[in-house]
């Protein structure tokens, strides 16, 4: 039996485009003698469609797509993801389903059992879990079909009471097939292979695992679909961060007619949690995910050109370099907006950066506008001393200038805030927190430095200096008052980032963090900053998610609260 995996990039709600991709892959697979083709979870509508699935009209359109696609499933079996209506009158109205199409008919519908409802996932918001399990009989084989999370319910403390593969095993299946929409984070690609292999070794069956690829606002789906033989050997691995269509013949003995890529005895640590920041961090994958996240966001939104404020600091430098790589240097406009408190080296560094990258840039002094604000506000401010109000004012003038140019010429403003700043509230709402997409919002300051070094090393063979050394070496500063340094307001990033990681990624409480040897007062102060600034993050743009716990849709914390704040 020749089985194809179609790893595709869907556009949420764009039924025509998704359908066309699906049909093209079916036709290709048919031409190449395929018996079965597997698509990823929710392929007809894209994942996650969120509250769109609450619209009957949206579900009708999913069913229309299934109806059109099934006409192409004549001699080939097709497994395609879609919401399905719950026909009984108890429970939620929908299932998260895989439709099995063959002989131009819907032959079966498989419902997802384990509904991820944590972090960025909200599936129980929409779907009823399955409570019947049946294999699909097809060309003499029994297919055990599951959907994404269904195969993740492993270990000694499983998240769900029911394990659907245990149920399906009662019917002696021949092969496991899984339709997934499993997103990237810097621990997840290896996790995913481990989980697939663990299932293979537990059930002693081959597995065809098809994942989605594509960036959906903040969530990056990285593909990496795999085919394992029943002995736990990886025989085919589809690429990361790109579409692919691959096939392998499944032999009757549960082996695959393809060479082993990675043998079964390779050890995976399925309990992998990075014990400290950057340990095991695959910086190349993070870099690739960010580029992909920018590129796909622009493509799906129909945008081509980006703008950003280039301050001469490390965050805007890395964002600019990533954006030039993703969108083409000619499509990224850097705007340098020195204020009376900007140092000359900052402007020079930012100019050098854009000269290295070859992207267009402007220098626009904000002094006159700043003066006009001060004189307009003089009757209100009278002779009160310079303070936070004047600092934020400068940042917001820059936000206004960037948005004005963006509005005038059709740019999208990229935000350059890093995760350390967002955690502590070290940023100005409507100023440097403005923008349509947060490129570095899921990277701590130390990780931004790691990215800068990676970008420079990557370009070394071509003899090209990208990010000027001075930008990497100098002490970080917002330059909103004379001689300002980040370290005036924030703990050293070497300590801060590690405390933040314990609190945000690992969800450790103050006592647990202090027990690791961090200064008690510093821990309390840091956690208080994090919790007291939830109101700022609440108004922040989507952030490209690269860690297991990003700010945004996957982290939901009350604004009005009094916990550690």
């Amino acid at each position: 039996m020749k089985i194809f995996l179609a790893q595709q990039n869907y556009h949420i709600g764009n039924f025509e485009s998704n359908r066309q991709k699906i049909i093209e892959a079916i036709e290709t697979a048919k031409q190449q003698g395929g018996d079965l083709i597997v698509f990823s979870e929710m392929s007809v509508c894209g994942y996650p469609a969120r509250d769109f699935v609450e619209f009957n009209d949206f579900i009708n359109k999913c069913y229309e797509s299934i109806d059109i696609i099934k006409q192409h499933a004549d001699t080939i079996g097709v497994l395609v993801g879609s919401p399905a209506r719950n026909k009984i009158t108890k429970g939620k109205d929908l299932f998260n389903a895989a439709f099995f199409l063959y002989e131009k008919e819907v032959k079966a519908a498989i419902h997802k059992t384990c509904l991820p409802t944590y972090d960025v996932f909200d599936e129980y918001r929409y779907f009823e879990p399955a409570y019947h399990w049946n294999v699909i009989e097809f060309k003499g084989k029994k297919l055990a079909v599951t959907i994404c999370e269904d195969i993740w319910n492993l270990g000694n403390n499983p998240l769900y009471r029911i394990c659907p593969m245990d149920e399906l095993m009662k019917q002696q299946p021949d092969v496991m097939i899984n339709l997934s929409a499993s997103p990237f984070d810097y621990t997840h690609a290896e996790d995913r292979k481990s989980v697939v292999r663990e299932n293979v070794l537990k059930y002693k069956l081959p597995m065809f695992y098809c994942n989605a690829v594509g960036s959906q606002t903040e969530i990056v789906f990285d593909g990496g679909s795999v085919m394992y033989d029943k002995h736990g050997n990886l025989c085919k691995a589809l690429p990361l961060f790109e579409e692919a269509l691959e096939s392998v013949v499944l032999n009757n003995d549960g082996t695959l007619a393809a060479p082993v890529v990675e043998p079964a005895d390779k050890i995976f640590d399925t309990e992998f949690i990075p014990s400290s920041l950057n340990e095991n961090l695959n910086i190349h994958q993070v870099y690739t995910a960010l580029i992909f996240g920018i590129k796909d966001y622009f493509k799906k939104m129909g945008f081509t050109k980006a703008i950003l404020g280039s301050s001469g600091g490390i965050d805007s430098a890395v964002t600019l370099a990533l954006a030039c790589e993703a969108l083409g240097k000619e499509n990224v406009r850097a705007v340098l907006m020195p204020s009376p408190y900007s140092t000359e080296h900052s402007v020079n560094d930012a100019v050098d950066l854009s000269k290295n990258l070859g992207n267009p840039y402007d220098i626009i002094k904000i002094n006159n506008i700043y003066e006009s604000f001060l004189s307009t506000l003089q009757p209100v401010f009278t002779n009160l001393p310079f303070g936070l109000a004047e600092e934020n004012m400068q940042s917001r003038i820059r936000g206004n200038l960037l948005m004005a140019i963006a509005n005038k010429f059709g740019y999208i403003l990229l935000n350059t805030s890093n995760k350390s700043e967002l955690s502590t509230g070290y940023g100005t709402l409507y100023g440097d927190m403005a923008g349509g997409l947060g490129v570095l919002g899921d990277c701590y300051k130390l990780q931004v430095y790691a990215l800068a070094k990676y970008i420079n090393e990557r370009n070394l063979p071509a003899g090209r200096q990208v990010i000027p050394t001075n930008i990497i070496d100098k002490a970080p500063s917002a330059e909103l008052r004379p001689n300002q340094k980040d370290s005036d307001s924030l703990p050293d990033y070497n300590v801060l980032d590690k405390i933040l990681y314990q609190y945000i990624e690992l969800r450790k409480g103050p006592d647990e963090i202090k027990a690791k040897g961090f200064d008690g007062a510093l821990v309390d102060r840091t956690l208080k900053m994090v919790n007291a600034n939830e109101y700022k993050r609440n108004q922040f743009c989507p952030i490209i998610r690269v860690s297991p716990k990003a700010f945004g849709v996957g982290r939901r914390v009350p604004i009005v609260g009094k916990y550690l704040s």
Copy 2:
């Protein structure tokens, strides 16, 4: 048996303050001969605590509170809400629980079965549903204790497969007790009484129903706890929007030793959905909820003073009137910021308004700042014609001025955007969309007019004119270019609001809305505006929720999508 209901306002994560309230009520009830006292759902930590419950430290603090509270539960039984750990190794780690405290011990823990995971609710994100059900035996009576949603699983198409009261009935209970955190919307107070009564009539048991009160960021809990006898008569109704502690003696025959407030035969329409906008809208309740929402937000955040931009339009006028009522007129500063395109009557109307209200106001012309932006940008904009960029620029100058004054003097900026504007994206990010709390973001333009008229009528007996007639009567305009009117860009609000209501509240698709007689092209254009502007709403502040479907945490729509857009 004398039973107390303690309807209290908790501060999320403020364990000391919540505990103190709970203990005070227990002591009062003891002094008054109470046998049992019932608190609302999640009383020890506040509801919804959201991802705070993912912190082991937070759960420890809940258990510490239970330990302290139980020392006061000596001669009185206490039912108090808290997360509880799941001691088996399958499923989620927590339950949403009610602890029964008596004789200084935890005698029982009841777990919630029906976990709302829709709109603003995320309970299955955190909690495992109950799968054992037992009554609590106390002083010769069997108590059937449920938590909030547990009693809402009624009708012909119930949302959950299991109905916990059906299970509890197998043990012949004597009385139903429900701990709730059920929020306000303009349909919900009546719904809630209907549901309680429906349970009473179905199970033929008296019901003591204790709801939380208090505003939690965007969600307003309105109290309205009730006690019903077994015949379906309402015998005690606690007030809306305020704390209360009330008791009634439950007789052995299931009647209550209190006069009937509302007889069992009063008809409630449990399928109540307003078929058109404003129909059955209880404007007094909406007004009260908004005042309460502002007041409690400020109190819990530790703020006292608000600022807002007063344009002479209806939205800022209503927001200002509400804020003066909630915070005291001396604590609300209005800033009038005319631009070159502002009409004289707008400034006059805004001045009249503040004179009527008696609140402080400033007039700050933005002309000089606007000129300095234009001249600074001249090298970039060259001689391109006036357009959206220049319009938004003015709005963002105002945002910057308001934030500057707020930062300087410690005000919180109130946002004045209405739901019609937010729906269609008719607003400027970082400009008039700035602010810490959206007062009118869940009220369509027509509802804002209704509020304005209500506020004026409310003040008529005192002979006080609040909102000048001119503000109510003139055509709405953003005044960002000469002779601009909202109707240049938007459909007439009389039609627009009705289409929006069909789409947002009722989740009707385009065909269904057109079938109601709305113009097809107008429907398509409106839905496209709604969906294409998700990115703007994503960066908006929390909105006080008064409808069954508010923008914000209760409506989750992809930004990158292509559905009806």
